[in-house]
Homo-oligomer: 332 residues x 2
DNA sequence: AACCCCTATGAAATCGTTCTCATACAGCCG
DNA sequence: CGGCTGTATGAGAACGATTTCATAGGGGTT
């Protein structure tokens, strides 16, 4: 491997001068600079990133910790966050929890020794902060920027970038009520997910604002995560047990798709018999049939906000990304 | 930051001994070992990964380079590859090209100086190997394991793990012919994608095996990547121009979904008027209505193969992952 | 008792870069 | 002509871990 010493001796200068030329900081004689640059070019020298990191005290990587990168918003988030991070000349380390929190604990313990620039936590799951707090604090103390995306941890003094999940769910619920679609069911409550609870809160708030009490029979819990099969099963059970409802707000697009399939299999027309609203705004929603009304989340906006944090170096306490309701055939 | 010197002086030994204890290699007196371990515990010492990497000459990261991590197979691939890599005690660096090849060039040039353990190339796009070869070779010379996943680059002496795309497409085409669904259209040929060409080859091979010539009018090119809107547009145009076909093999599930939506919007019944087969085996396909027949790809199997490469250290020349046809309502 | 071997440990070099401090030399002023 | 200022550069330390080489003893053999 060609190193700074090789370049220096090739150019007939000291390593210090090579370093100076490449950093472009201190004044170097024009002739010397040219000679060094030529040697760099000629030998194809690239500074060793590891040595730089060691010397600098920290590296150039930001870790993205996802709950399940395969699902919903998170693939898009990974894509756009990577783009932002790369734009800043940093690298993205990906860590996928896959519904196992002990791995987060483990990762946090390892984090300070990795020389990370930052950690972007992008998991919707409620975390046991009592257990996580010590590791978290150790990480932050070691100069790592910690950021929670999608879950609001601002009450634990962790900068958070979150969607207005509650507002979005409320908007969707109001939309269904406006269409005279009461009773409205809620498909896919997950109690162990902060994001899931926020969505349910929006549903409840909107109902109560119109003097409607939440009917526990019309709230269908799931445990497995926001997947289509869970939506299919929960909706099938609801329909088969003869519950009366004229619309469904699903906690994710995948759940809504499963729910719509269940309705179709039972000869119920969407939206005539049951209207559906999904959550997430995934690309294929517009090509489901009927096209799916959905609360649209903005992975790109989140990624931009993440990029801005690392660009400016200043942490927001809590930044809220608006959601918007995209109305399509499944609810009209 | 607590380092090996701090631990050493706390335990009353030299840094060398601390290192020995942690490596567990050379014999260390039991009493000394216990004392060192206690100090490690007490001070919460974690070896600095950057310093280790510098000393060792390479780090513990593997880079995953995707074309578009948001699409089709690749989110699942990222998830499972991350799991495998983590299981080996390594970290995953994510690099998403987003349809811009010059960034790959750039990344390859930077790669040797990052001390990477390996690079897993997971992009379906044809690459200009003439341009890429020098950087590629430089990377491999510097001791980095290079691996192409999903695109066959074995002819360039790059170890490749690929799906049997051609076989899958042939199977799907035969299935449609067996159902007496000729003429069969091909939705979404991409000439600039090696994977896309392999899928088209399977289609053509299967037709020719039955003495049917490919009808160029029934092959619909797209340029934008395997997205549902491209499928919708291409299928709409095909139907509106009055082409005669009774089934469609799509180059991806997303394209098939768009195509099915286009058919539905024109009052055509799936599968009665037009049968559809998708490609990819994405989770939601079973909940499309009608449920989608698809050629199923196995991201997990690919990830396992990737893991095996780094576990064993030996590169396959070319490893082929079988595909299978999952038959559902959209084609029966 | 002298010698040797083996175990347990420490001192110091090393990885490649950056940065601080020191120095050499040129030019300028008194 | 001596001393001062300032620019251009080099020598060497530092980052934190690993590893080679050297050495101090303890125990065994002759």
């Amino acid at each position: 491997m060609v190193n700074v010493i090789a370049v220096a001796s090739h150019a007939g200068v000291s390593p210090a001068t090579v370093s100076r030329v490449l950093a472009g900081r201190v004044p170097v004689a024009a002739a010397t600079r040219a000679r060094v640059l030529q040697s760099v070019e000629q030998l194809g020298y690239r500074p060793n990133e590891t040595a730089r990191s060691l010397r600098a005290g920290r590296g150039r990587a930001v870790a993205l910790v996802t709950g399940d990168i395969e699902q919903g918003l998170y693939a898009g988030l990974a894509k756009h966050v990577q783009g932002e991070i790369e734009g800043l000349g940093l690298d993205l380390l990906l860590f996928n929890l896959g519904h196992r929190e002990d791995r987060l604990q483990h990762f946090l313990e390892r984090a300070p020794s990795l020389g990370l620039r930052g950690i972007v936590l992008a998991s919707p799951h409620v975390m046991d902060m009592a257990q996580l707090a010590p590791a978290m604090r150790a990480v932050m103390r070691s100069g790592v920027t910690v950021l929670s995306v999608s879950q609001d941890l601002s009450s634990f003094d962790i900068a958070s970038i979150v969607h207005d999940e509650t507002g979005g769910a409320a908007m969707a619920t109001e939309h269904l009520l406006d269409q005279d679609r009461a009773p409205v069911g809620f498909l896919g409550r997950i109690e162990t997910s902060a994001v899931g609870r926020a969505r349910f809160d929006g549903y409840r708030t909107a109902l109560e604002a119109r003097g409607i009490e939440v009917d526990p029979d019309l709230v269908w819990d799931i445990s497995k995560g926001y997947r289509a099969d869970a939506g299919y099963q929960a909706a099938s059970r609801a329909i088969d047990t003869g519950l009366r409802f004229r619309s469904v707000l699903a906690a994710s697009d995948e759940l809504a798709l499963g729910g719509m399939a269940a309705a179709a299999d039972r000869g119920l027309a969407v939206p005539q018999d049951i209207a559906f609203v999904g959550f997430g705004g995934l690309g294929w929603g517009v090509f489901a049939r009927p096209a799916m009304t959905t609360v649209s989340l903005d992975a790109y906006a989140m990624a931009l906000a993440v990029g801005e944090v690392f660009r400016s170096g200043s942490l927001p306490h809590r930044q809220i990304i608006p959601t918007k309701l995209v109305i399509r055939r499944s609810s009209c």
